[in-house]
Symmetry: none
Subunit: 144 residues, 2 copies
């Protein structure tokens, strides 16, 4: 599949796909005429990369874990057991990080929703300057 079709499928620009490739994140094969050829696996990997970027990771960060983003998991299985374990640790860190963000996001959504619900019978400003939800902000500021 050529770049435009791939881009359309992924809902991102061809420019971005080339950018990912230039950053070493993605390596679609080339066919005879030199055109990039995206396999379904490439598409899936690109999708993951896109998600990583959209979630605030830099291409550099994504690059360090790029092998883990392939379908096969820790890609270079032939590279040795030590490598595999190292990559596994990377994946674990990544998941931990994402879960932290996920929890923060969930908390924020919850606080939004509760705010909305008690705002529905708004009448007058309560006016307290006391911490509204200290637990949330504490947890947020303390982690990263």
């Amino acid at each position: 599949m050529q770049i435009k079709e791939a881009a359309t499928h992924l809902k991102l620009s061809a420019r971005i796909l080339r950018h990912y490739e230039q950053a070493g994140l993605l390596t679609p094969s080339r066919d005879a005429n030199g055109y990039r050829s995206y396999s379904p696996a490439d598409l899936r990997k690109a999708s993951r990369i896109r998600d990583m970027i959209a979630t605030g990771f830099s291409t550099r960060e994504v690059l360090t874990m790029a092998p883990c983003l392939t379908d096969e998991g820790a890609g270079a299985c032939d590279a040795g057991l030590a490598d595999l374990k190292h990559k596994l640790a990377q994946i674990d860190r990544l998941i931990f990080d994402l879960q932290t963000r996920r929890r923060a996001t969930l908390d924020r959504i919850e606080s939004f929703e509760s705010t909305l619900s008690y705002r529905s019978n708004e009448r007058e400003d309560p006016g307290y300057d006391t911490p509204d939800h200290p637990a949330v902000s504490d947890r947020l500021s303390g982690r990263k």
Copy 2:
């Protein structure tokens, strides 16, 4: 509280705090000498802003939901809520995906180890399912 202390507390630079302010996200009061004075509420809001930025939102996006980020949470939070939920979905996708791949990697490590020496059993992971992952791939490739 002056900017440096606030920055230290939040674990970000004073530059960033001024940047947030310039972007209209944060409006600490000023005292007589013109120095910014950060209230506890300002700190909490800054913390939320920092999390939003770190999760891939731009200051512009954050600006549209800035009112929702205050302790009082006044204003039209609906748009922000939708954005957050979208981001959460992305994160959930990634985590799910990575976890599947993590399990596959664990399995591969285990089989590698048992091939090398039938004596190694240092892992504690309960037997998961699906060493392969067609469902995941399908879901991802079909996704927006």
